[in-house]
Symmetry: C2
């Protein structure tokens, strides 16, 4: 018997360059971005946002000058943010089993992070997701 | 002055179908997968793995029958796992600022999750990452 399938979800990637130092060096802003993205995309948080400071590492080919890493588990999947303060770089993922419009989340990110430019990609995930329970 | 740039990182996506119910319905296995992937890819955890149970939601177009969601913040970025138990589906992300070989992580995931098939994709991230600090 063949299985009816649907697309599982969508995944927005936002990798931004040339953000101001003080914007990336702000733990509370990282928490706020996680919660605001959740709201703007119409999603629902399952936990409080979890943000930690990393002092960086010389072991990673000198790539990591330190920054904040944050995560929010949402009903729909997850949202993550990582800042690399001294490089002006921030990398954000918004992964949801619910389709969402990227217009408001992207306008918001550009407004608060003030990047010089950004790589933006929206992917589909789980194209062979079963439409009904199999167990 | 033009800026020297390097590739920031790599992101492995593993979306697997037809996994056994009992494999996906195992909170401890979700924690173990997060830690084992971290080790197999030569990465370093910054926190304990965080795994929560979701009871599912009828609001998400009936897509979410419930499962476990977990994440691990690592020095190199993050690892996440979401199981949708009654659909036999699991979706995993391994995102690192360090290049990594996918052979061992993928062999491990196929061995423990026993999927019928999987969508596997390795992406590059942050292609315009500054080679040196800009602040």
């Amino acid at each position: 018997m063949s299985l009816d399938t649907v697309q599982f979800g969508e995944h927005l990637i936002y990798d931004a360059y040339g953000c101001p130092f003080e914007v990336l060096n702000d733990e509370n802003l990282c928490k706020k971005i996680l919660l605001d993205l959740c709201d703007l995309a119409g999603m629902h948080a399952l936990i409080e946002p979890h943000v930690i400071k990393s002092d960086g590492s010389i072991a990673l080919n000198g790539k990591d000058p330190g920054g904040f890493s944050g995560f929010l588990i949402i009903e729909e999947s997850h949202i993550s943010v990582h800042t690399f303060i001294k490089r002006g770089y921030v990398t954000i993922d918004l992964y949801s089993c619910k389709e969402f419009n990227t217009q408001k989340p992207l306008a918001y990110l550009n407004s608060v992070l003030k990047p010089k430019n950004a790589d933006i990609l929206k992917m589909t995930r789980g194209l062979k997701y079963p439409k009904e329970n199999i167990y």
